[in-house]
Symmetry: C2
Subunit: 276 residues, 2 copies
């Protein structure tokens, strides 16, 4: 019966000696034989079977403790139900990582847009794709207040996302709505905040925002929003366009600068139009 030292065992299983000692200490995987004089660990080559199993269960995502318990019980049904639980966990993680992936893409695009965005205040026409929004009503008209109230509304939105089990990742693409009628009558009353969610299938009960031509103006200052919105309105009038939907103030990027702790924002103010 040939015995392996800890170094040999480690080498042949692609594991570190420290890790093998750790496994020994926590009672997960102990050497077959231990020399009483020098305390050396000696492993039996047949122990590889168990170590393989440990490494396998570990790479499947089980914790060392779970593995220890399972291997101690040696009950196939228990292991199976644990694996089934783990399958759900893994599915969840995959779903979450896909959202992460999506959010990263979106952020990179936002930064590009930030760098290349038209000059602050320039009115342009853009064709925007169909989007979906998750919206809440705060029953406070933020146009009557300053940024504090706006922040407060965002906190409420954040809470609401959490409660609706929507990933906070979407919080990076928020905004406010001024309903069409109010916009047309220059009645700045808006109590609604939202986040854009790019895939309807992710969550039910999302509202669609139609694709189409939007008259847009980019704005870097929270305080200037109302003025720019009015300019947007004037432009619509001058060109003889027709407003066919709600006015939206969308947050494109939101880079907080270190020293001042304020939002370093880029908004895209937008209103859908037709050529009459």
């Amino acid at each position: 019966m040939q015995h392996l030292t800890i170094g040999e065992m480690a080498e042949s299983n692609n594991i570190s000696k420290q890790t093998l000692r750790l496994y020994d200490n926590i009672g997960l995987f102990s050497p077959d034989y231990r020399n009483d004089e020098n305390g050396y660990r000696y492993y039996d080559i047949k122990q590889n079977a168990r170590l393989d199993m440990i490494q396998y269960l570990k790479s499947i995502g089980l914790t060392l403790n779970e593995i220890k318990i399972q291997l101690a019980s040696d009950n196939l049904d228990k292991i199976t139900s644990l694996l089934e639980k783990q399958r759900l966990t893994v599915d969840d993680e995959i779903k979450n990582l896909k959202l992460q992936r999506r959010a990263i893409d979106k952020t990179i695009k936002s930064f590009e847009l930030y760098k290349d965005s038209p000059p602050d205040g320039m009115i342009i026409l853009e064709h925007l794709p169909r989007r979906y929004m998750y919206r809440i009503n705060t029953s406070v008209n933020f146009y009557n207040f300053g940024i504090e109230v706006y922040e407060d509304m965002l906190r409420k939105l954040k809470h609401s996302l959490l409660k609706s089990n929507i990933s906070p990742l979407f919080f990076c693409n928020a905004g406010t709505i001024l309903r069409k009628d109010n916009f047309i009558s220059k009645n700045f009353v808006s109590t609604e905040v939202f986040v854009f969610i790019d895939d309807k299938t992710l969550f039910p009960k999302l509202e669609a925002v139609p694709s189409g031509n939007y008259l847009c103006v980019y704005c870097e200052d929270f305080e200037k929003e109302k003025d720019y919105a009015l300019e947007l309105f004037d432009h619509v009038e001058k060109r003889g366009f027709k407003i066919i939907g709600d006015y939206i103030c969308e947050v494109i990027t939101d880079l907080p600068v270190v020293e001042t702790n304020h939002r370093g924002m880029l908004f895209r103010l937008q209103v859908p139009i037709s050529y009459k």
Copy 2:
């Protein structure tokens, strides 16, 4: 200017007070103002912007340290390249989780097969799907040796998988090949071990094992493999079948039992046949 206590700040951002204190201690996010007498932290509502950003970058997968560095530099290009790096990381993680998911399924199925497998030694005909294998040649004929040499071959296979950058998850479905000619002449010489990989697209250079009818026998004892293989051969002769490919000894499950540290295996011995 209204100030928020740590409790209010925590509550409105869905974060614990301890975490906010931690962020303060590591210099990631400190309160706007601190009362000198009682040491209370007071946050400005505008600081939400930075906290949002921190939470966002965190949920995108960045570490607190990375976030701290990025927010301190406030350089858009740096953040972008970090995000691009993170995107690759996330893609990797997704890929890995999908493999995990697959392996879990496979293991659950193996356990089912283990419970429902035909009695040890019974010869049956199965139609097996096309499979792919990653194979190495060890230049040792394991039929001449015992389980120690077999274990050693498996270690080599494990190393090889690692070197070829193939997930060790596949290690759970390993086996040995006895080439057709050797099997037919009852010449038990096999130096090859392999793992089955169920998707060819995952790795290039995989060999296909054709689908078809396989004469199979399940076996729970490593020592009995050769005898069962001979029985398989006799059966082929008796029925007048024709052997049309290599004989494979596939490991279905490999449950190491606690006390004895040996492999508790289920093999499926299989040889592809035609009805002449």
